[in-house]
Amino acid sequence: MKERWDLEIKPQDKWYHLDLGAIWAYKDLLLLMVRRDFVSVYKQTILGPLWLFIQPIITTLTFTIIFGNIAHISTDGIPPILFYLSGITLWTYFADCLTKTSGTFIANAGVFGKVYFPRLIMPLSVLISNLVKLAIQLLMFLIFWIYFLSKGTDIHPHYLYIITVPFLILIMAGLGLGFGILISSLTTKYRDLTFLVGFGVQLMMYASPIVYPLSVVPGKYKFILLLNPVTSIIEAFKFTFLGTGIWNWNALLYSIIFMIILVLLSVIVFKKVEKTFMDTV
């Protein structure tokens, strides 16, 4: 008779043994982590969640002055504030997800070393708490957007496409998570990549159509930009709300496939590393 065991601890599991069901069992922890991220960040601040608005506004103003007024980079005829804000909102979500999840193992070594729970809870909680942040910033963008529309500014949104926005966000989340936990898994033993994350994200921003529209990019560079899976999503977002930008099905499909493969790969690597990282971190 074969005995039934609830759990078997072995040196290595099969690569496809991802045990994602365990995450569901810990959904309460996931939500509490989100709450913790959110509550603890603004404890002992005077402005509190107001900082959520201040950050993108100041960035937008800076971009408006430097790239718009000084460098005179085109915004495709869109009011600069709206143009930059649309890019920054989505980009910040991606960048925050990436940077914060890329430290998953190292930042949580203390907790991970003492108690077991599905390690993916941590990066997932980052994704969700940043989603709340994104929602608030998106709301702010929409307020500006409605203001400019009501003023009769010359923008032509594609209203029907607004339903695709959740999917765009989902792809962004997947990309941020994928890159983030991949880096986090690779840095438990060799810390080299952590140096890359900070300025790598910044460099990637310039390789995405945030401070300039894709339309002004010369042909020979466009190819590089389209290799960047973030490009098509930012463009699609701008196409939806501002009517400029390019809606390119092929490029979007590329981003989606890129995201799915990246997430699968990174979760497999992450699960492999979570077993041994305590010895090497």
Binding site: D6, L7, D28, R35, K43, V115, Y190
Partner: protein, 429 residues
């Protein structure tokens, strides 16, 4: 006792000593390449038993090697061993914090582990918020925590501070709250690592009581501690780890006695103290030998009831030490220090020149029948820093019969350890 709920089979854990550096990447690449071709990992064959005091050949050591055991439902298994014997590594693997290198563990039921209290406490959050956070990290659902919330707060005894951020807590309050959460876990299997060593005496008692409740409810507990009395109070069986290997598993009292007297003392006639028994203090002096003698100077391991005996020590001083005190301690079979004597009856510091010393301590203290061992210490008088310290060595027995055979200790149970010098004055009134 019910069915087997934990089954550990040929479990091993290998660690690499030294720094992670560029040298390791070539090993990693080599390993990966061999694995890709379906070859065996060559590094699993080498590696040595984990003995910290010796410098080894290889920089790979086995923190655990070939561990096999089973735990039945409702059993409370204690794990003892010196520092670095692999106790915590074993618990880490059982609680899935670290993975094993070879072997497997099979488990029935939900495991919760307490390797630390207050894991995941966030300093900025209030006590209330942290109870929920910590509870769910330990594997409780939100509903479970809610239903036990009042109980947890009452157990911790800090109602008043429950809405204050925990960073404002005193360390005692912090630990109380943390333990209170942990104590209300209700898994089928509980893994505990020395968390009892926290809080004041009253709180420790409370914790010990709670642990007893847990085991009484028929849940399985694995428990690591250096505290032999609480081991004895809680455990139904004990496993001894030494250099990452299982050297004994069985009855609690027997195993504790075996651990404390040290396996070496049984067959070591010269009384030479093994190097790894020392707790390695500052090292200017070292205890080399320990023998128990009768008054004729014959080495003996058994003494009669009421018989005087001599503890004979050889002490090597490699550098002159001043303001020190030498201490001889009688240790019970439970590991408690029963009584002690120092080299100066007025408890004054003394000094020792470089050289080898033969010290004879005559004990006129009458010990009650039982098993005892000897602890030795030489430490600085004022600071208390240990120069050398042996927790327990040289086990000996006190028999029930007196030397002249004129009387025998009459009862099966022995109350206490020493027979005080008393004078009875009984008057009828």
């Amino acid at each position: 006792m019910g069915e087997i709920v934990i089954k550990v089979e040929s479990l091993g854990k290998q660690y690499r000593l030294g720094q992670v550096g560029t040298g390791t990447i070539s090993h990693d690449i080599n390993r990966w390449w061999l694995r890709m071709r379906g070859k065996e990992d060559p590094y699993l064959k080498i590696g040595e038993a984990n003995d910290r005091s010796k410098k080894g050949e290889s920089d790979l050591v086995w923190a655990l090697q070939n561990i096999n055991f089973e735990v039945k439902e409702g059993e409370v298994l204690g794990i003892i061993g010196k520092n670095g014997a692999g106790k915590s590594t074993l618990l880490k693997i059982l609680s899935r914090v670290a993975g094993p290198t070879v072997g497997s563990i099979k488990v029935k039921g939900r495991i919760a582990s307490l390797l630390e209290v207050g894991t995941g406490f966030h300093p900025d959050l209030s006590g209330r918020e942290n109870i929920f956070l910590n509870g769910s990290i330990l594997g409780m659902s939100k509903r479970e925590i809610k239903s036990k919330f009042d109980e947890i707060v009452a157990f911790s005894g800090i109602e008043r501070y429950i809405d204050t951020p925990v960073k404002r807590y005193s360390s005692g309050m912090y630990v109380r709250l943390a333990f209170a959460v942990a104590a209300h876990l209700e898994p089928e299997i509980l893994i505990v690592d020395e968390v009892l060593a926290v809080g004041d005496a009253e709180f420790q008692k409370k914790c010990l009581g709670k642990m007893k409740d847990v085991s009484r409810q028929g849940r399985t507990v694995l428990f690591v501690s250096h505290n032999m009395p609480s081991m004895r109070a809680l455990c139904s069986s004990v496993m001894i780890l030494e250099h990452g290997m299982n050297v004994g598993l069985g009855n609690t009292d027997q195993m504790i006695a075996k651990y404390l007297t040290g396996p070496a003392s049984v067959d070591n006639e010269d009384g030479i103290i093994p190097d790894d028994l020392s707790f390695h203090g500052t090292g200017e002096a070292k205890f080399k030998r320990l023998k128990t003698l009768d008054l004729k100077g014959q080495p003996k391991k058994e003494f009669c009831f009421k018989q005087d005996f001599i503890i004979n020590i050889e002490l090597e001083v490699s550098k002159r030490v001043e303001n020190v005190i030498v201490m001889v301690i009688i240790v019970s079979s439970l590991g408690e220090n029963i009584t002690m004597a120092v080299d100066n009856e007025f408890f004054k510091p003394s000094s020792y020149d470089k050289g080898l010393y033969d010290i004879e301590v005559k004990f006129e203290e009458k010990l009650l029948p039982g098993d005892y061992s000897v602890g030795l210490g030489i430490s600085y008088f004022h600071t208390g820093n240990d120069i050398d310290y042996i927790e327990s060595f040289g086990g000996f027995k006190v028999l029930r019969e007196t030397e002249s055979k004129d009387m025998e200790y009459p009862w099966a149970t022995v109350t206490g350890y020493t027979l005080p010098k008393t004078k009875w004055n009984i008057k009828k009134i």
